[in-house]
Symmetry: C2
C-alpha cells in the first residue's frame, strides 16, 4: 500500500528524487563509485554544488547583492550565527515571538546586542500571529519565523515594515515566492521542503556583512563560506545532492509560483474538511493558518488513538500532533500529493459516518 507521509520533518520528498538518490549511493553518474566516496573537490561534486546554488537562485530570484550558502548545524545554529554576523554590540534587533523556534532565536541573539521582543502570541499557546504592534524604524533587522512547524501558523505575507528582515523559513522555503531583496538573511534547515536532514540553506546579504565589532571563529563567519563557495571544509555531500535534486524537481514542476498554487489547493482541501466535519476543529486563528502544517483536534479527544490507527490503515503516517498542541498535525509540504490529502480527508469522513 502506498504510504502518505505527513511527518513534520525530516519529511516527505518526491519519489523521483528518492530513486535518483538511491542510485547515486550505488553508482554516481556511471563513475563506478558511490557519491558517498568521492572527493568534494571532484568536478562531479563541484557541479552538484554549482547546480544547487543556481537552482536556489533561480527559484527565489536571488539578487546579486545576496549569496546562497549550504552550511551545517541546522536552523538552530543560525539562531546565534545570524546575530553574531549581523548585530553589532551597540545595535538593536527586533524579534517577533511566534513559538519555540523564535523563542530560541531570541535567547541566542541576546549574547550579541540589544534584542527586543516586539510582540508575542505566547498568551494563547502561539495559536495566532501577533498584529498591531509598533516596529521601530531604526532596528538593525526584524527577525520572524515565516511558518511555525509546531503550532501551525504561517505569515501570508511578511510583517509590514521597511526594516530588513531576517527570517527562519525552515518549514516553508520554496513553497511560494519570496522577495529576497527585502531580507538581510534567510535561513532554512533542509529537512522539510528542501531535502534530507544535514544541510541548511542560508541566503545572506553580502553588503551587510563584515560590519560587526567582534572576532568570529572562521567556520561561523559567513564571509568564509562565501569566499569558498560553501567548500571551506568538506560540505555534507549527500544532503546537498538530494537538496539539489529536490530544487530541480520544484523547477520542473513550474517553480515556486506553481508550488504555491498547489499548496493552497491542498491546504484548502483539508481545512475545508476540518471546518465542515462536526467531529473536528482547527487549532489556529483562521487568518494565520499554515499551508504547510495543518493542526487540528477531535472534539472528543478520547478517540484520538483510534483516528490515528484508522489513518494508518489508509496509509497516512506521521499525523500525531506535537506534544505542545496535541491532536493531529498533517504536514503538507511540496512533495505531498493531493491524493495523500484526499486519503486523509476520506478517513475523516468515514470517522464522521461512524461517530457523527
Amino acid at each position: 500500500m502506498k504510504k502518505h507521509n505527513f511527518f513534520a520533518g525530516p519529511a516527505i520528498l518526491p519519489q523521483a528524487v528518492l530513486m535518483k538518490a538511491a542510485e547515486a549511493v550505488n553508482d554516481f553518474e556511471g563513475m563506478g563509485l558511490s557519491l558517498l566516496e568521492i572527493s568534494h573537490r571532484s568536478p562531479q561534486f563541484v557541479d552538484v554544488l554549482d547546480r544547487a546554488v543556481a537552482s536556489a537562485k533561480k527559484l527565489l530570484n536571488v539578487p546579486d547583492t545576496h549569496e546562497v550558502l549550504f552550511l551545517t548545524g541546522g536552523a538552530s545554529s543560525q539562531f546565534f550565527m545570524s546575530a553574531m554576523n549581523y548585530l553589532g554590540s551597540t545595535q538593536t534587533a527586533g524579534y517577533i515571538n511566534t513559538g519555540s523556534w523564535s523563542t530560541k532565536a531570541i535567547k541566542e541573539a541576546k549574547a550579541y546586542g540589544t534584542v527586543i521582543e516586539l510582540a508575542s502570541s505566547k498568551d494563547k499557546n502561539f495559536n495566532y500571529l501577533p498584529k498591531g504592534f509598533d516596529i521601530p524604524s531604526d532596528l538593525r533587522y526584524l527577525h520572524y519565523t515565516s511558518n511555525n512547524t509546531i503550532y501551525g501558523t504561517q505569515y501570508a505575507s511578511p510583517p509590514v515594515s521597511d526594516v530588513p528582515y531576517i527570517c527562519d523559513m525552515s518549514s516553508d522555503i520554496f513553497s511560494r515566492p519570496v522577495d529576497v531583496s527585502k531580507y538581510m538573511m534567510i535561513y532554512a534547515g533542509a529537512q522539510k521542503n528542501m531535502g534530507p536532514a544535514g544541510t541548511t540553506l542560508v541566503i545572506v546579504n553580502k553588503e551587510e556583512l563584515g560590519k560587526v565589532d567582534r572576532q568570529i571563529p572562521t567556520m561561523l563567519d559567513y564571509n568564509t563560506h562565501i569566499a569558498k563557495n560553501s567548500s571551506f571544509n568538506t560540505p555534507p555531500v549527500f544532503p546537498i545532492y538530494v537538496s539539489m535534486l529536490t530544487m530541480e524537481w520544484v523547477l520542473e514542476q513550474g517553480g515556486v509560483e506553481a508550488m504555491a498554487k498547489k499548496n493552497e489547493a491542498k491546504a484548502a482541501l483539508l481545512y475545508n474538511e476540518i471546518d465542515r466535519n462536526p467531529l473536528f476543529e482547527g487549532t489556529v486563528a483562521v487568518e494565520d493558518r499554515s499551508l504547510m502544517n495543518i493542526c487540528f483536534l477531535l472534539k472528543d479527544n478520547a478517540r484520538e488513538a483510534e483516528f490515528i490507527e484508522l489513518a494508518g490503515q489508509a496509509g497516512c503516517v506521521g499525523i500525531k500532533g506535537h506534544r505542545s498542541v496535541g491532536g493531529f498535525r498533517a504536514s503538507t509540504y511540496n512533495a505531498m500529493s493531493e491524493e495523500g490529502i484526499q486519503t486523509l480527508v476520506n478517513v475523516m469522513k468515514n470517522f464522521e459516518e461512524k461517530y457523527g
Copy 2:
C-alpha cells in the same frame, strides 16, 4: 572493471555498507518510507543513533567518564569548539603543529586562552613529526593531529606526556586501538574511516566540561548535545546511519585490533614497493609514515601524468597527490582491500619494467 578508490576523503566505504545505504534510501526497514523522510524522533531512527553510539563505545572501549556525540560542522568546527568548551581564558594549552589542520586548530584556539605552539615541522614541509621538545606539565591540554591526511605523517603512539590530550583523529579513527581515558577529547570528521561527509564524531570527557568562564551559544556547548543524546536539533540522519553501518562493519571484521593488523599489512605492501622500486621514493621520514595516507613521488616527475593514467586504466582512482606535496597519495583506509593495494603495486612494477 572494479574501481579501487584511493581518494583522501570523502573516501572509500565498504561495499556492503553502500548497498544497505542505497536500500535505506529506497525503503527503510520495510517501513514503506525512505530513511530520508522519517522523523528523527521515530523509534527507528532513535535506534540508529543508539546503535551508532554503542558501536563507537565498543570499538574504542570508551570509559564512563566520556560521552560519544555525533555533531555537524566537520573537524573544522571542533578547532574552535574544543578550546571554547575546555580552555579557560587564563589557562594555557599546548599544540603540536604537524600541518595544515594543526595550524588551523592553533589559529582558532587563540581566541579563548593562551596557546603555545610547542613544536612544528613546518621547516621541512611537515614531512616528519617533531620530537625531543619540552611539554610543560601544567597545560590544560595537549592538542595534536594523530594522522596528517595531506602530508602523510602519523603518530605510531601519542606524544609522551601526562597532560590530557585533545586529538584530531579525522583520518585514522577506528583504524587502531586508542586509550580514550588519556584524552580530554577526540574528534573526527566522518568522511575518512567512519562514513560519508556530514557528521563529526566527538568524544568528550564530561567531567572536564562546564569549567570555562564564558557564555557559549547553546549549539556550541557539548553539554547541550550530551543532555539530548545528539538530538537537541535534527541530527544529520543519513550520514549518521551510514556511519553506524560502517562502525558495525568494523566490529564484524574483528574490531579495531583486527583493522590495525590489516592496515599495517596493507601499508607495508605499498611502502615496500616504494622503497624497492628504483623509480619511486617516499616523501615522509620513515619512522613517521602514515598507514592511512601514503605519499610518494616519481623521481622523474615528468612521468607523473602517465603514471596516473596507467593507474586509472587498472582501476586505481584518486591517487593524485595533494598540491602541497605533489606526486601521489594513496589513501588506504579501513575499507581499502589488499587487492586494491596489490593492483597499484603492480602498476608500479609495470612502470619499472617500462622505464627502469
